[in-house]
Amino acid sequence: MSRLSLLGSPSSRMASRPAPRRTSLGRQAVKYLEVARITLRSRWAYLGEQLLARVYLVIIMFVFVQLWRTTYAAEGSVRLSGFTLPEMIWYLVATEAIILSLPRVHAALQQEVQGGDLAIRLNKPYSYLLFHYAAFVGEGLVLLATALGMGGLTAYLLVGGFDFRWEALPVLALIYLVTQALHFTYHAAIGLLAFWTEDVMGIFFFLDRVKWILGGMLLPLDLFPPALRQLAEVLPFREMIYGPALLFVRFSWPAAADLLLRQGLWLLALALVCVALYRLGVRRVDINGG
């Protein structure tokens, strides 16, 4: 024990902390864009496998088309709650594309918290949550391209196109990014529960299905019973699935502005939940051993 330290008092040492480092917003942005880019490249390396995995979407879309053709025929109407058959199918293409383009960030967080990989992440000079968000965006874009491509092609071959507003494409792209951010905060918040519980997969499975149902993944909210629709109105899932998918098939500028506003508010609320969970969780992280 020849070199045990003889340190000064805690207060004297606290006074000499180095000044905080200042990093420009531009450098911060480049950092996270690079994370998104490398994640996109990593996912792109397996594009063939991605496309193969999307074959099941062809089957799903085929089943949807048969079901809705029968429903429209039984109703004897060209429109159901304002949707024509092609609009209904393209609405489902949009909802499927949104859901299928979400990387499994909850599983990644659980793995890192419980498997110890958190050590690799936490000793780098970046925000842990922003790192995962950037990776979510990068990976999600590849998933979106394959899901939208395969689902869209199937829908086009089965029911034809619809009146897509090409001039709204930049706004729809922005809405998609905000939608994706909303999903990220929802999934990440569930993943961060791994700081307290051993397995978040069961919680995720339940909450994800609630999101699917009340978000209008399989059925537009317009067709919901009034009580269920009222419930869906006050939850964030409407802004995560139904809102953007509806705009995709029936775009209007006022509806887009309204959706962006509502999405922004929910994003703020869910992001705060995420940050709070992370800050509480990281203090109690127990990475024991090597």
């Binding site: 024990m1 330290s5 902390r17 180095p18 905080p20 690079e34 390396a45 936490l122």
Partner: protein, 330 residues
């Protein structure tokens, strides 16, 4: 100048205890019972700039927990620490710009991409000037002989090649302290030798302070000048590697596979047979009494040898020897 100081650092983990039996387990879901495990018990140390320190001990000694507190990943239960003036767990991101870390069992490289992509990402993460980064990368590629490895997907690299890339990546931003947690774990002797040489050069040529945890005595002897041995969360020895070598690493173990059955006859002072069965024999050699080269020449004169391995005694044996020494001195 001290770059690391820790005073009475302590870390207690709360671990949920799973009772046996279905009902007891169900009850524990609602009223979990915890036991406390004290991984680090009031550990104090100081590391000077430019030192190469081996922080070693058996499994469960608290090595990794200490390194994780010093890099800001874990909050200690009590005690204080400063690394380059920062309180690690309060200023983790700022500290991260000035330290590097390598975890032997965890990879920072992107598995499906070549290392060059991770290097580019790290350059952005550490906010390096791009032309400076390219110069630094070229230096490290040459020093670590990475060449073609830089453009091969990480999943296709051997463990030794991957570890060379991991260490180079962690030196990219010119860290002042390099924390290495079991960097040679799972490597073959050749790869271990290469990794040790690279760490030694980073320390000697670039002045990087090395803080290395391992339970491989070879890592200590070949890389570090100073050694701290921890056991059960406490420092049991803090001395130079030369002193450790002189006092505790005097014994080597030789594993032999002979061409004929072993029939005794290795009667040298300080040499004893630990185990012998058929063609195989394991010897313990006190190199302070008889040098290892004399023992080997003696064996080769007596027996045809098919295979030979020389090993340090396991860390547990060294720690037991340290405790024995303390008991004798007391």
């Amino acid at each position: 100048m001290a770059v690391i100081t820790a005073t009475n650092l302590r870390k207690v983990f709360r671990v949920a205890r799973k009772p046996e039996g279905g009902w007891a387990r169900l009850a524990a879901t609602f009223r979990p019972r915890y036991v406390e495990q004290e991984a680090v018990r009031g550990l104090s140390l100081t590391v000077e700039k430019g030192e190469s320190l081996a922080f070693i001990g058996p499994n469960g000694a608290g090595k990794s927990t200490t390194i994780k507190m010093l890099t800001g990943i874990l909050h200690p239960t009590s005690g204080e620490a400063r690394v380059l003036g920062y309180v690690p767990w309060l200023q983790r991101q700022e500290l991260a710009f000035r330290i590097g870390s390598v975890f032997g069992q965890k990879s920072q490289l992107w598995l499906h991409l070549p290392p060059v992509d991770t290097f580019n990402l790290l350059a952005r993460i550490y906010e390096l000037d791009w032309s400076d980064y390219l110069r630094r990368r070229a230096e490290l590629v040459e020093l670590f002989e990475l060449g073609d490895l830089m453009y091969t997907p990480v999943r296709k690299l051997s463990l030794g090649q991957r570890m060379r890339c991991e260490i180079a990546a962690s030196l990219l931003h010119r860290p002042e302290i390099l924390f290495l947690d079991e960097p040679t774990i799972g490597l073959d002797p050749v790869a271990k030798g290469a990794i040790r040489e690279l760490i030694r050069r980073a320390n000697r040529e670039e002045g990087v302070t090395v803080f290395l945890t391992s339970h491989d005595a070879g890592d200590i002897e070949q890389v570090c000048r100073r050694v701290i041995i921890v056991s059960q969360g406490q420092v049991v020895l803090d001395d130079t590697v030369n002193a450790l070598r002189r006092d505790y690493l005097t014994t080597k173990e030789i594993d032999l596979k002979l061409g004929v059955p072993f029939a005794g006859g290795i009667d040298l002072p300080g040499v004893s047979v630990i185990k012998a069965r058929g063609y195989g024999v394991k010897l313990s050699v006190d190199t302070g009494i008889t040098p290892i080269d004399r023992v080997i020449s003696h064996i080769l004169r007596q027996y045809p040898v098919q295979d030979i391995t020389i090993q340090n005694p396991p860390m547990e044996a060294i720690i037991a020897a340290i405790y024995r020494g303390k008991a004798v001195n007391q």
